[in-house]
């Protein structure tokens, strides 16, 4: 019954697609201080070249039989403490998804793909 993207509330079935969850997660992750941007993989980059702005960039949502896990690929700003920022992203994404979609997220995995220097250079020169 509960296949990809469908979730069951107490009485009725509510469908929230993985894509929608990914957009919520992506927007939540961008709000966290210290995140410079989302890192899209190869396919995401291709979609962007083709002119699609993608709110779910750098987010992968996998839900199987009611267990949802979110993978987030981020680029952080230089100088931040990665474990702290990662924890904040995890909490923020988790609470946003729970508030907006009512879905309990099993795990939020953060993949730090890069470090952004662009703001530091302006300060020091």
């Amino acid at each position: 019954m509960a296949d990809k993207g469908s979730y069951i509330t107490e009485n009725d079935e509510m469908l929230v697609t993985d894509e929608a969850l990914a957009v919520i997660a992506g927007m939540a992750a961008m709000e966290v201080d210290g995140v410079a941007g989302m890192s899209s993989g190869f396919t995401g980059g291709l979609a962007e070249v083709l002119g699609r702005t993608n709110l779910a960039k750098g987010v992968k949502v996998i839900s199987r039989s009611g267990v949802t896990s979110v993978d987030i690929y981020v680029v952080v700003r230089y100088g931040v403490r990665i474990p702290e920022v990662a924890f904040e992203i995890q909490e923020h994404v988790r609470s946003n998804i729970e508030n907006q979609a009512g879905i309990v997220v099993d795990s939020v995995n953060i993949h730090v793909q890069g470090v952004d220097f662009s703001e530091v250079k302006e300060e020091e020169t």
């Binding site: 230089y78 995890q90 953060i110 730090v112 470090v115």
Partner: protein, 182 residues
């Protein structure tokens, strides 16, 4: 290891070149030199017992070579590309390329550095960083490398909370391009 590996690949390439040449010639083998060669091989090699052993050993050697190359390729790819922490909410993976970009960013801020490349390896809970630089002529290399080593070590340790076991610096070249002096 690297040198040995190169010899192996050279041998491999040579053998496969000879084999492919034979394959190319084989359709025309009915006439000319090839025919006489095959006749000679037939008489002297195929019919002797030693040939079987030699053929078997050659095949075995090639097979081992193939397997070695195949698995070494897998192993090179499998080097830790990220380091993983776990907490209650899931995993946090820090990729090697993000640590590399910390090192690169710091190196490129220096006026003396013309080009920088970086490689990062994760060993257990510690990080090894290799930084390859090419610098401008008027650089005091020991000072520069000491400065960068300290900066990189501090930055990586404070950002990732991992320990940096070493920061190696290779000076790959000194470039004669004039540094902009105003």
């Amino acid at each position: 290891m690297n040198f040995f590996f190169r010899i192996l690949t050279a041998v491999y390439a040579l053998v496969s070149a000879v084999l492919s040449a034979l394959l190319m010639i084989s359709p025309f083998a009915e006439k000319g030199i090839m025919k006489s060669f095959l006749d000679w091989a037939d008489v002297t090699l195929y019919r002797s017992d030693k040939y079987n052993v030699v053929l078997f050993l050659a095949g075995l050697l090639l097979l081992l070579l193939n397997l070695f190359i195949l698995f070494s390729g897998l192993r090179f790819k499998g080097v830790n590309k990220y380091i993983c922490f776990k907490n209650d909410s899931g995993q946090v993976r820090v990729s090697a390329s993000s640590v590399e970009s910390i090192a690169l960013g710091l190196a490129r801020k220096s006026r003396n550095v013309r080009e920088a490349k970086s490689k990062v390896r994760f060993k257990n809970e510690s990080v090894e960083i290799l930084l390859k630089l090419s610098v401008y002529p008027d650089t005091h290399v020991p000072n520069l490398s000491r400065l960068l080593q300290n900066q990189i070590k501090d930055a990586v340790e404070s950002m990732t909370e991992l320990t940096v076991s070493k920061v190696d610096i290779n000076i790959d070249g000194v470039h004669a391009a004039p540094a902009d002096k105003e």
